[in-house]
């Protein structure tokens, strides 16, 4: 198992993607614990009693050569808003790497990655690892409008990319599931990986299950500790209640019993 660590990481840069999303690049120590795609970190927001708990944020990308960790963050409340003001030279108190991430694929397997809105965050590092493993990747990125399509350019060297928006302001018009990859072509994939809003994950999970294709989804539950002790992030599975932060956040979709109706995260 990966060793977990609590560390103060220097902020290398804060890249604004649009008015509500940004990417924080952090400097990892050279001897950092191994980080796996689909894992997450717990970030401390300092200096405000209203942001008492750490914020769980998924790993967006890791540069193993330069020891950097990127977090793609959406501003959804006071905590993430505060994080959006970090800049080069600041330090971030994080606990990492946490949770059980995605499984990889074998060489020559064809796999489909689907990210909805900010849910695209964990897909970049996953696509990088899959490419290294020799898998053939297709990445579908969906959103309501062009403002929800994030980091699409980063995938061009790693995968075939499809973009869909509900209003047609970028890429093809329609829901992500309108793409042929989720229709007639779905059976040609060995695995499907999904992260996005619950309805999207549920819909793709059902399509994959019906087509007999193995599918992993990454859940975003409210959490306190992130290390398996508080039991707040519970997920209902066919094997009983389990912890999103330990047994997940990535789950084989067929193991899930009831989908949580996620309220707004403590942003």
């Amino acid at each position: 198992m990966n060793k977990k660590s609590k560390a103060l990481l220097p902020v290398l840069k804060n890249t604004k993607l649009n008015s509500t999303h940004f990417v924080l690049s952090l400097q990892l120590p050279a001897n950092h614990p191994e980080i796996w795609p689909g894992q997450f970190v717990e970030v401390l927001v300092e200096g405000s009693p209203d942001t008492f708990l750490r914020r769980p944020i998924s790993v967006h990308d890791v540069d193993e050569k330069n020891h950097t960790l990127d977090l793609l963050v959406k501003i959804v409340g006071a905590g993430t808003e505060k994080l959006s003001h970090l800049h080069e030279g600041d330090q971030l108190d994080i606990v990492y790497p946490l949770g059980h991430g995605f499984s990889l694929a074998r060489q020559d397997q064809k796999v489909l990655l689907a990210g909805g809105g900010c849910g695209v965050a964990p897909m970049l590092y996953l696509a990088r690892k899959l490419k290294e493993a020799g898998a053939d990747c297709c990445v579908a990125i969906g959103g309501k409008t062009s403002a929800d399509i994030l980091t699409a350019d980063a995938y061009s060297k790693l995968a075939q990319v499809a973009i869909l928006t509900e209003d047609g302001s970028k890429g093809d018009k329609g829901m992500i599931t309108a793409h042929p990859w989720f229709g007639a072509e779905l059976k040609s994939f060995s695995k499907v990986y999904v992260c996005g809003p619950d309805p999207m994950m549920k819909a793709i999970g059902q399509l994959a299950t019906d087509a007999g294709v193995y599918c992993e989804v990454s859940l975003e539950n409210l959490m306190a500790c992130g290390i398996g002790s508080c039991l707040c992030c519970t997920v209902s599975t066919h094997e009983g209640n389990v912890r999103a932060c330990m047994e997940g956040p990535v789950f084989d979709v067929t193991k899930l019993k009831d989908w949580n109706h996620n309220p707004v995260c403590h942003g």
Binding site: K3, K4, S5, K6, L44, P49, D50, T51, F52, L53, R54, V95, N221, L222, M223, A224, C225, I227, G228, S229, C230, L231, C232, C233, T234, V235, S236, G240, N241, N260, P263, V264, H266
Partner: protein, 303 residues
């Protein structure tokens, strides 16, 4: 280097720092972040006679300087604890204390009887104050008559150290401390969570599936400190103080108010290394203040 040893009745702790039930798992979840052997003890997750699945999601809401939880005593039951979990943690030098919960008096006594025979668990903390279960739980701890019934029943079958965790959701907590003492408790832990609630104004929905839950964190510290002080004046048995302790200074304040030992709870979620940092911080405080034995601090508030 001060002598950090304290005795809670017949139970010696290498230092006064315990981790609170439900905030530290079974200890091993924190092995990457601190040396568990350096703690006075760990109080494991609320354990019941039979397994419990706990409450529906969402079970947690962040609040100002704190959080609400409504986990509902999810655990695998006392037998699984003894057979599968205890073997993994009994090597720790810190004391292992089981927080014992139930919905009926017979559940408490049956589980207490089982735990009485188990080596490596020198104490139980009787949870009569959980606000998150439909039956039992806090109901036992908010009436002196039912508290008397459950503490007497457990005392009659449990021969080792019996700690009773009191509910703050009462008018006069000192009466409950006295009741526990009169029924044979060896110590009382003060306090469990305060019952609270949170609403999302936009959706007009409660933030917890159970509507109400237990408030913890620094928001409750002044209340907890006051209750420890009140209880310490009412009973002779030792008091274990908890409620919003985030650092060594907070821990010292609880001892000055009358606690013999303290528990670190919600702080473990924010800083998984904090319990060990508090042990070190208490030691530094003692050195700075010329305190030779940490037990000198118990009830040493100057008024």
């Amino acid at each position: 280097m001060a002598d950090l040893k304290v005795n809670i009745g017949n139970l010696e702790l290498q230092n006064p720092v315990l981790t609170a039930s439900g905030t530290f798992g079974y200890g091993y979840e924190f092995e990457d972040f601190l040396d568990i052997n350096k703690l006075g003890g760990i109080i494991v997750k609320g354990t019941t006679l039979e397994p419990r699945q706990g409450n529906a999601y969402p079970r947690m809401a962040e609040t100002a300087a704190g959080m609400l939880n409504a986990v509902g005593l999810q655990n695998k039951g006392v037998r699984v604890f003894i057979d599968e979990i205890l073997p993994k943690i009994k090597h720790y030098q810190s004391r292992i204390i089981v927080n014992l919960a139930g919905s009926k008096v017979e559940d408490y006594t049956e589980a207490a009887r089982i735990l009485n025979e188990v080596n490596d668990v020198p104490a139980i903390e009787l949870n009569v104050s959980c606000p998150n279960v439909k039956t039992g739980g806090m109901a036992f701890g908010t009436s002196c008559a039912s508290l008397t019934e459950v503490v007497k029943a457990v005392r009659s079958v449990y021969k080792k150290h019996l700690m009773v965790k009191l509910s703050p959701n009462v008018t006069n907590i000192a009466e409950f401390a006295k009741t526990a003492e009169d029924c044979g408790a060896d110590s009382v832990s003060v306090i469990n969570t305060l019952m609270g609630m949170a609403i999302d104004a936009e959706t007009r929905k409660p933030k917890l599936s159970t509507i109400t839950g237990g408030l913890s964190g620094p928001a409750i510290k002044p209340v907890a400190l006051r209750m420890v002080w009140q209880c310490s004046k009412a009973v002779k048995i030792p008091i274990i103080g908890l409620g919003g302790i985030m650092n060594a200074t907070d821990a010292i304040e609880f001892m000055l108010a009358g606690a013999t030992a303290i528990q670190v709870g919600t702080a473990n979620f924010i800083n998984p290394s904090v319990a060990e940092e508090i042990v070190d911080g208490i030691n530094e405080y003692c050195d700075r203040q010329g305190v030779k034995q940490v037990s000198e601090l118990i009830g040493a508030m100057r008024v």
